[in-house]
Symmetry: C2
Subunit: 481 residues, 2 copies
């Protein structure tokens, strides 16, 4: 449903957050009511002034020891909550992310369960300034809202306290580990990746069907107009996107497997694979949403004027992907994180230290090994993409090193190397997708599929690899000259 | 006004078409009323089943000699008019493009002035099935409509008859030259090019201002959050698009000059430069709308979540550019036309025959001259782009020749070479833009501008050239190895 719905955030985020971050008592008191849709809520984090930089959020929750309450305030315009899905018209509660203060001392971001509207009349409660943020490019059904708070009081026991706690006397007990919160964000990126792979597949399906039904412009005069799919330029719009969609489906599945394995590891107290999963989820979310945005738009254009109509469903698909480039971690911000992970990996590779499996392709290039000969075989193309990625990682590392040697801080050097870092991250992600696709098509599951299906998958793999190599041809030519 | 308005087609197309294609009597009878907005109309050409392939239009106008009338019909669903701007709710007349038949003999497409709704009540007239085509990605204000006709009769004198004519006895007089109709399409492509260059500049302005106002994510911890423009990755999103916008503004102006010069030539009966203008308007329309679509979306993304709100105006700009990729000549169809023009030009170049000025860069490569040495100077980068373009033209020509030698028809060979033809056309257009930008910055107008402005323009030129060279780096590396 590309138009979205106003209860998605309620169910996927608010209910889950109460379940995982709230105490058992809190789950009984309001978690279950939310799960049963007796009340409807949202997750209110992003503000008008801050999205990517979480620590910059300005909504305050001051603990009042005298009454055992938190006093919630929106100190300035930029602190207004802005975007929460369903907040505009459909929420009577929310989980509010706010800076906790005790005796005016900041204690970091915490989550607070807050009633916004009367359960019977749906009228906003005193001190609550609430509404819808207006027309958007897409997500017409989501009712994104704004929220300001003025001296709104909630009981102490409405702060989610499975981890961090505020005791009645105002003593603050830190969360034993921030990994759980962090892990929810990893999970969301895996969800977004999978959803966008599906969106791209939907767009490819619509455009392909249209190209089979639509007839236009005879190739030979006096012959019947052909299905537009018979025009070679139309094939170039459709087929690579079909291959992209399959490539992302398979690598999103692989990411999910890794997520579940890591989840089990963490339950056992083993955090070894978390950095890899974290970075893989960042780069996959960024690449998949960006490629879905561009690819679905290309497919929409392949439907000519008809693709412009909402009834074709194409532009809502594009608009969903376009939104996904910005939410749950802005894509460039995510790629920069991955770039910094790759800097550590490159250093480890040059020092002969262990590498995470998906970065192990750096080892050879870090030792000075060269790509060798272009043969055009599948594994050879994957290796070429990996060498191109490693070369970008090396260039970024050299830029970082030079800047640090010139006396820049780590952060200044990273900003100055921002372009190289994002390019390295992009090719790193591309390598993962290509290697995953290759492993799937040539791996042990071959025997579980029909020969006909295997033939189709092999062609799609080849198309994906050739298309990706052409896309990064200048990067490949630079390591292959 | 990116949302468009429902009277644009009335004023730009219908009134102009009556003025240029109608007789003086017709202009007096209904042209002036339209010009004064006493009546409102649209230009109804595209049908549900046919857009790009004009000859495939199915709406019929049969001449009835007995009554001196045309009988207008929509013979099947696919013949419904679909898309005319303003038709949905705001037109009481239209210029209908239909296949003229006399005694069941087809006489080609003609334009007919038809009343659709009562001037007082606005109710559809008998035989008229009319309405709005539904929600679209953008152009919310345009009221695009559909139209079916069932035995609607109009007087013979309502066919626009400045050129082709139908006499009372049913004698058909052909248009002396189809150049005028054709020239209107050239003019429209020049308009679309200029408008999209402006749209890209608007998007760049909004995103740049936002990047100056918005502060987010400290570069060094404990320092104030910087303007987001200080993040290098943000600069990569903004600055190349500013350069693109200026490059397209300048080359759209150049195209306009050429249009006006050619107009004067044609008035004097000199058609020499028409093929060049025609092809230049095709490639400029295709490149400028495609780059505006992609570039404005990149700029929209640079505004984060705020760019998603309609109030930011960004997505309506993107949506306008997205529509422009399909209307007034679908971009791929236009590039294929230019590709075929380049095939003729390449043959002429290899045979030492004259070339149009904007294709003259083919001469050297056609003689086998090589690019020479990369110096990175402005003129050198322009030459590199031209050599890359010439190389693509050569590859397309070789593919065409091989296919023809294998016995394919010209049309089959052109379809099989479609990808090479569009790539050649794209680089041809890019060469024109780059050369135009270079000529403007280094040409005689330098002395008319302040030193400060010249410095800015020089930097933008350099950025444009470097960015374009990087974009086509693999093509350039292939001619420069």
């Amino acid at each position: 449903m590309p138009g979205g719905n106003p209860f998605g955030v309620h169910f996927v985020m608010m209910v889950e957050a109460i379940r995982t971050q709230g105490t058992d008592e809190q789950w009984e008191r309001f978690g279950k009511r939310a799960e049963n849709f007796e009340i409807c809520g949202t997750y209110a984090q992003t503000e008008l002034g801050h999205g990517s930089f979480l620590r910059g959020l300005e909504t305050r929750a001051d603990y009042d020891r005298a009454t055992g309450e938190f006093v919630l305030n929106t100190p300035k315009l930029s602190a207004y909550k802005w975007w929460p899905g369903g907040l505009g018209h459909c929420s009577n509660y929310c989980l509010l992310v706010a800076q906790l203060y005790i005796d005016d001392e900041p204690k970091g971001l915490q989550m607070f369960f807050v009633q916004l509207r009367d359960e019977e009349t749906h009228m906003p409660l005193p001190g609550i300034d609430i509404g819808e943020i207006g027309h958007k490019r897409g997500f017409y059904g989501v009712s994104n809202g704004f929220l300001g708070l003025k001296n709104v009081r909630i009981p102490r026991t409405n702060m989610l306290m499975r981890n961090a706690k505020v005791q009645p006397d105002g003593t603050f007990v830190k969360s034993p580990a921030s990994v759980l919160t962090y892990f929810t964000m990893v999970m969301m990126r895996c969800v977004v990746t999978r959803d966008n792979a599906t969106l791209l597949a939907m767009a490819a399906t619509i455009a392909t069907r249209y190209s089979a039904v639509r007839r236009q412009s005879p190739i030979n005069p006096n012959e019947r107009e052909p299905q537009i799919m018979d025009h070679v330029t139309q094939q170039l719009k459709l087929f690579p996107e079909i291959a992209n969609a399959i490539a992302y489906q398979l690598s999103a599945n692989k990411l999910w497997s890794l997520y579940h394995e890591t989840y089990v590891d963490i339950e056992r107290g083993d955090f070894t694979r978390l950095p890899e999963l974290h970075n893989l989820s960042c780069v996959m979310k960024a690449l998949c949403t960006a490629d879905c945005n561009v690819g679905a738009e290309r497919l929409r254009l392949a439907c000519g004027g008809h693709g412009y109509l909402t009834s074709a469903n194409m532009h809502l698909i594009v608009s969903s992907a376009a939104a996904a480039c910005s939410y749950e971690g802005e894509n460039t911000v995510l790629l920069l994180q991955v770039g910094r992970f790759l800097m550590k990996s490159w250093r480890a590779a040059t020092e002969g230290k262990p590498l995470t499996p998906t970065a192990s392709y750096l080892r050879g290039p870090a030792r000075g090994e060269t790509f060798g000969k272009w043969t055009g075989e599948w594994a050879n193309i994957v290796a070429a993409i990996e060498y191109a990625a490693a070369n970008k990682v090396r260039l970024a590392f050299e830029s970082m090193s030079q800047r640090l040697a010139q006396g820049q801080t780590e952060a200044e050097a990273a900003n100055g190397t921002g372009i190289e870092l994002t390019q390295a991250a992009e090719l790193h992600g591309r390598s993962f997708v290509a290697a995953t696709f290759l492993a799937y098509v040539t791996g042990p599951t071959v025997s579980e599929r029909s020969a006909a299906l295997n033939r189709v998958l092999e062609r799609l793999l080849e198309l994906y690899l050739v298309h990706t190599a052409l896309r990064h041809l200048s990067d490949i030519l630079q390591v292959n000259c």
